[in-house]
């Protein structure tokens, strides 16, 4: 699965983009985030406060209960600050 990180989430995790093979039991965004947090301290730090983590799947905002499909592009990022 293709994962994208932006802004301070990208800086904390240390990469902008990665392709990860997810365990079969990961079905939702919430499960993905929990699995990522267990991958190491950088992920745990970046994703510790999920109030500050927005999720887009295939470039559309989704909630944490959104179900993932193979081939999805999942982006994790802080609340936006443009304009």
């Amino acid at each position: 699965m293709k994962l994208l990180y932006f802004a301070w989430l990208r800086q904390k995790i240390g990469v902008a983009e990665e392709n990860l093979d997810l365990p079969a039991e990961i079905a939702t965004v919430a499960q993905l985030v929990d699995w990522l947090k267990a991958r190491g301290p950088r992920y745990a730090d970046a994703l510790g406060n999920t109030k500050l983590v927005r999720v887009a799947v295939n470039r559309e905002y989704v909630g944490y209960d959104h179900r993932l499909k193979p081939g999805d592009e999942v982006a994790l990022f802080p609340p936006v600050t443009g304009g």
Partner: protein, 150 residues
């Protein structure tokens, strides 16, 4: 129409193009957002605007479409820059043209309010104490919430 670009833009020629040759437009409301030197209590030397190529355009198009559903608009233009900006630089232009000024004003403000909470851009400011990511503002969430349909 939406554009996401690194380069500056010229508000005058953009606004001209919006109404040129048309005689059905009663008013054009526009908003230009600029980089302020004083932000969050600190002096900033500049900022970098990061975005999510692809999703940014898609979100701005969705926001334009929503404005057109809500108000009778003759033209809509959103230009948003990314990359490195200095104090005084233009960041964003939002312009709406309509037969009547109420629609033009409401839609323009809706667009900038929604854009600020939905379009994937992130500001990294350069301060004397080093770079710092701008926090999302509660006031922006409240401004966007004004437009939530009950």
């Amino acid at each position: 129409m939406i554009r996401v670009q690194r380069e500056d833009f010229d508000p005058g020629s953009e606004l001209d193009a919006l109404t040129r040759g048309r005689t059905d437009i009663g008013g054009v409301t526009s908003f230009v957002g600029l980089v302020r030197e004083m932000a969050g209590g600190a002096t900033i030397a500049g900022m970098t605007l990061e975005h999510y190529p692809g999703m940014t355009e898609q979100q701005l198009e969705a926001i334009e479409a929503e404005a057109r559903r809500r108000w009778p608009l003759d033209a809509v233009l959103i230009i948003h820059r990314f990359g490195e900006l200095k104090p005084g630089d233009r960041i964003v232009l939002v312009a709406t043209a309509a037969s009547h000024r109420d629609a033009a004003f409401d839609a323009c403000r809706f667009l900038i309010d929604w854009l600020k909470t939905k379009a994937p851009f992130w500001k990294l400011e350069e301060t004397a104490a080093g770079p710092r990511w701008v926090d999302a503002k509660d006031s922006d969430d409240q401004a966007a919430a004004r437009w939530t349909r009950k």
